[in-house]
Each structure stands twice: as C-alpha cells, then as structure tokens.
Symmetry: C2
Subunit: 232 residues, 2 copies
C-alpha cells in the first residue's frame, strides 16, 4: 500500500481523464481496494480550449491550469499527471508554478515505444493541430532518435480534427473509422508505430477492432508512468 497520492489535472477532455482513472486502476497490480493508488482527479472541463489558444483564437488556459494545480497541492498530492497532450504546451509555465513533479506525457510515450520494442525508424504521431504545430512530439522524440511522420493538412481537416471533436461530444464509436484511416495512412508512409498523441484518440481507436500495427496509447502510457512513480 502506497502513502503517495497522485494528482490528476484532468477534464481536458473529461472522458479522457475518466478513462485515465479506469486504466490507472486496471494497470495497477492489485488484489483489493487498499492495493490501489490514492488519487485526486481535478476534472475541470471549463479550462479554455487549448487548441484555440495555441492557434491564436482563444483564451489563455494557463490561469485555469494553475488553479487546478493549486487544488491538487492543497489535497496533499505528491506528483501531477495531465492526461491531455495539448496542455503540455503550457508545461514550462506549470512547472515553474509548482514544487510538485509533473510527469510529462511525451516522456511517457517515448518510454512506451521502448517498452513495446518498436523497431528503429520513424513513428507516426496523431494529435490536435496545436500539439503538432507546437512540435511537442517532434522535439520530445528527437532525443530518442525518432523522426515523426505527421498527418498532412487534408487528413487533419477531414479525419483527425473532426474525430477528436466527436469524442468530446460523447460520439465515441463514430470516431473509430476516421482515426483508423488516419493511422493506416501513417503506416503506409513508413511509420513503425503510431502515437495516439491526443487523449481523445485512444478512446475512439479502442471503440473498434484492434489495428494491425503498434500504437502508443498515451492514456495508458501516462498511467504506467504514474504507477511507476507511485511504486518507486
């Protein structure tokens, strides 16, 4: 039984952070309630849209993110996990504002590529337009010697961006086919695996048949990083 309490800064979107809690629980070796990791989930879906902010058309989410961090600090949490890739565009601002360690979702994804033994070579990355424009994965995976293949503008506009919106509107099953098509197109271009680099994407992808190639589910990857922290 751990005495460490995990803080989850969530609500971005709320279904992704709820699913993070499910996967955190199912991935934890446990025989009874008391074997699981004490966790506080701060699920505030009122955080201004991260993609709109980064693309210059929306309100800055940082003040709302810092309010959540303050709440998780007050609750006694010892580390923070944020199951929203795009929010990691404000990682430096959050890190500067808290004494708590923040588990970085791109580091967790890189660790999961290693865990799965993905062959050397480029990996595909799907995410919000803002995540891709900020280069979160391009920079983060360069250290692991990985080039990133990104969906082109047409695939983003026709498949990825609408599918993310479907998940946020609770229309999860409808998101499967466009997301699967976008993932297949990256593999056809040479990707050794596809990183589902927006936490809405694994919700859609797991609503249909398993894809016949390696994927990095960033909800699961972050949950594994959190379990390693709690047990470390």
């Amino acid at each position: 039984m751990t005495e460490k309490m995990l803080g989850v800064l969530g609500g971005m979107g709320p279904l992704a952070s709820a699913q993070f809690m499910v996967r955190l629980t199912l991935l934890t070796p446990a025989e009874r309630d008391q074997d699981h990791i004490p966790t506080v989930l701060w699920s505030d879906p009122r955080v201004p849209d991260r993609t709109a902010a980064r693309l210059g058309t929306g309100e800055d989410p940082l003040p709302a993110l810092l309010r959540g961090l303050r709440g998780l600090e007050a609750a006694g949490c010892g580390a923070i996990a944020i199951p929203c890739n795009t929010a990691h565009g404000w990682f430096a601002g959050m890190r500067a504002a808290t004494r708590l360690p923040i588990l970085h979702i791109v580091d967790a994804a890189a660790e999961d590529l290693h865990r799965q033994g993905v062959a050397p070579g480029p990996v595909g990355v799907m995410g919000t337009a803002a995540t891709l424009a900020m280069g979160l994965y391009q920079e983060g995976l360069a250290g692991a010697g990985r080039d990133c293949l990104l969906p082109d503008a047409e695939v983003m506009a026709r498949l990825v961006t609408p599918a993310i919106a479907l998940v946020k509107a609770n229309r999860v099953a409808e998101a499967y086919e466009p997301l699967a098509e976008a993932a297949r197109s990256l593999v056809a271009r040479g990707a050794r695996a596809v990183v589902l680099g927006c936490t809405e994407i694994p919700l859609g992808i797991t609503a249909g048949p398993a894809l016949p190639f390696a994927v990095v589910d960033t909800i699961d990857a972050l949950a594994r990083a959190a379990i390693a922290w709690a047990r470390g």
Copy 2:
C-alpha cells in the same frame, strides 16, 4: 456551462469510482469539453473495508470518509456523490459532519426504478453482505412501496461475495457469470427488476451479454442524480 462543482468521494473501489466518472461524462448532454460538469474525484482506496467494519471485524472507516469530505469541501465542491453503496451505512455520520448536501445512492436507485417504469411488486437487491445486513435498500425502498428480495446465504457465499472481490482485484470479466446467475435467481423468485446495489456489480454485469430483465445500475443511477443536481 455550470458553475457548480461536484465532489465524488470515491476509491471504494477505485474501478467503480473511475467508471462513475466515465458514466457521468457519457450521460451528460454535451457537444464540447466546456458543457461537462466540473468534478473533483477523491479516490482514496485506503478507506478501511466497509463490509469488514459493519460485520464487526474491521476498522471504522468514518475518519477516512470525513478526511475525504474535508478535501472535497476545500476544493470548493457544492454537493457530494459517493459511488459505494456500503459506505452509505455511515451516511448519518457524514451528513452530520458537512454542510454540503450528499446525494443518497438508494434514493437514486429508487428514482431509477421509477424512470424505467418497473411494474409494481418486489425487486431483487444484490449487494455486499454488509449493505444487505444494514437494510439500506429494505428501508430505503419501503417508502416507494417496494419489498426487497435478497440472495440467500448460499448465493451470497458462492456467487455474490466472491464476484465483488474479483472486480476489486481487476478480474472483471470473471465476475459476469456468478453475478448473472445470482440476478437470474432473484427474477425466478418473482423480482420485477434487480438493483445492482454494490458499485462493483455493474462493472461485472456489463462485462457480458445484457440480462433479459430490468436492472438498476447504481453507478448510472447516481450519475443521473448528480447531473440533475448540476443542472438544477
């Protein structure tokens, strides 16, 4: 967009409270993140076992429950939902210790029987041995004019109690058949519907084929009560 923040006193078990967050999200009419209900989930699986305490063999969980309430009050929550039926055996102690309203899971289940239009007559209730021994449903549903049919001691010992433990140990799929058999036996005795009166039970029951009679999923029933509070 609501300004009310829901507090969820969870971790009992952690998979049930994670699933509560999933169902709360999916049952909320929403087109985008900002339409969802701000929620803080206090998931503390270290709360002493409620069943052991009520049966006289374990530590009192009330102090741990009150610590969670204090945390949710400090976070600014306006009402409390507790996705654990057995914990409602300490409802009076919790209600006396907080100014926040606590949504009662048995009231939510009674409302769901009404919502589903279940015909007059007895209903089956499955739950932990402690929930049944405390009479939470027998008392709570008497006001709605319902008699309760309970699993007998043999069914509890062979099917229901082991299946609840399987869910708490993350062995969800294995819990389906024993729970389905117990539910069928209540319908065979004349139950018009079966209340899944332990939040581990709907996790097992939804892991297999739908049962051919009405069930009250107390995770969903409490989520509906929380949504009504947030939007009311």
